[in-house]
Symmetry: C2
């Protein structure tokens, strides 16, 4: 069942965007709006409507965890080429949720200390506690994406990591974490336009990095690496979702819908009081 | 100069709320609205107007830090009796800022590991990096508040801590952190009403803790401990602000104004490009 508050979906976002058998990234049109009627004004209305629903789910999830009623948590994993819109999603979708219930981590180039450990070491330390929505801006998948494209590790080590990731994510899922893996898919043409805008505006220069062009030259190699990631790590326990991202409104709405559907599946409930309400009323009155 | 976007202040929030020589907490009316014309609808309009201003300041601060142009950061320290509204401020004021620029920590009862270290050990680990707005929901001041009231440490250790805090905060300030220390001041009558509401509503039961009444019985001792905190740790480098908090709209607006004034004093600028814009335009066009 799709998010209750969002009226213009024709099907569940998690169904239509899920990477299943035979999926080919090359077949996805980055300007498409799968499962949604596709008008921008409808999308914006749906996004606004989803804010309150997400807000209540988050608070229920948090509340339920405080009473030991549940170990459930959510982990949103965001991967994308530069300028695909991760930042906008964190700002506009994640940013609409009470920050007290969110644990956000931006994974940068690994530090020497991080490199001295297994690639999952730094990830483990940032997993959401029960009741929280964890958000990874980049993740352990960098180690099989840039790691593969730039040959930062030997081929057999890259190979080992796909299995290690699946084992890791299965364990998280069994411990109560619902993992929502999202690749934001933009076209190279849209990226060119967005990088150009960063160059045109002095207040955007700080977001531009000459290295972005070097990465851009490797586009086909990155798409191959993503295709392999999908084939090797889109599991029943933790499937991937590819979100067309040339239209920012659709990408934001789709990620919000994926979060709503994950929370709906958890269906957290307000916990029962762990104290006698009548007794406490009397104590309060006498205080 | 007060926040540009907020029209109904008659003076700077940081001036009128600052704890100076001779300050007496007992003289502050928790229902008052110092420095603001005091109508709720004006306050709500000002709060909405401040959101965009805070948003731009935060982004400028973050951008400036990415270019090594500044070591500046902001640290908001929130202290209060239960139900005074810390959570609402985090949700509605801090929550309006891009989460990518915020580092929020809720300090709970110390763990055995934390207790095995000096009281500032866990605080150090959560200080904001340059460019960030750090937010402490409770803080090192717990160690001279509940620590004093509940005698969790010997008197001479409590005494030592005031000086240690001042040294610590002076060092932070010298390293570029602007510390905004806020005590939200509610009346015991307002607390009674708010705790009563938590008991009346099943969806608020999880926020109620029978221990809240035990703390409530110690109200005068807590007010004494706060008075001592103000006398000992409201320094030029890191002054305290007492925000009357019986009116939620005023407390939220005042904290937003304090943040805006701190950022205005830093006055972060968009950093200059560290690359040749023309060269990069050509590289992008050719890519």
């Amino acid at each position: 069942m799709s998010a209750k508050s969002q009226r213009y979906w024709t099907t569940d976002a998690s169904d239509i965007l899920r990477v299943g058998p035979g999926f080919r990234l090359a077949d996805v049109d980055p300007r498409s709006t799968p499962g949604h009627t596709g008008r921008k004004d409808h999308g914006i209305a749906d996004l606004a409507a989803g804010v309150d629903e997400l807000d209540e789910y988050q608070e229920r999830l948090y509340a339920a965890s405080r009473s030991d009623a549940t170990d459930a948590s959510v982990l949103l994993v965001l991967q994308a080429m530069d300028s695909a819109g991760k930042g906008g999603i964190i700002r506009h979708v994640v940013g609409s949720v009470d920050p007290q219930g969110v644990m956000l981590t931006a994974f940068k180039k690994p530090t020497p200390e991080e490199l001295a450990h297994d690639f999952l070491w730094r990830i483990e330390k940032r997993l959401p506690e029960p009741g929280f929505i964890g958000v990874f801006d980049r993740s352990h998948y960098e180690d099989v994406l840039i790691g593969r494209v730039r040959r930062l590790a030997p081929a057999d080590e890259i190979e080992r990591r796909y299995g290690a990731i699946n084992d890791f994510e299965t364990r998280l899922t069994e411990a109560g974490t619902r993992i929502v893996k999202v690749m934001l898919h933009i076209s190279p043409e849209e990226q060119k336009a967005r990088l150009g805008e960063r160059l045109d505006r002095p207040d955007k220069h700080w977001k531009y990095n000459p290295g972005d062009i070097d990465e851009r030259e490797l586009w086909p190699a990155y798409m191959d690496a993503y295709q392999t990631v999908f084939e090797r790590t889109s599991t029943d326990a933790a499937p991937w979702h590819v979100v067309p991202a040339d239209r920012k409104w659709y990408a934001r709405l789709a990620v919000q819908a994926l979060l709503l559907e994950a929370l709906e599946a958890i269906d957290p409930q307000w916990p029962a009081a762990t104290f006698d309400v009548g007794v406490e009323r009397a104590r309060l009155a006498a205080s």
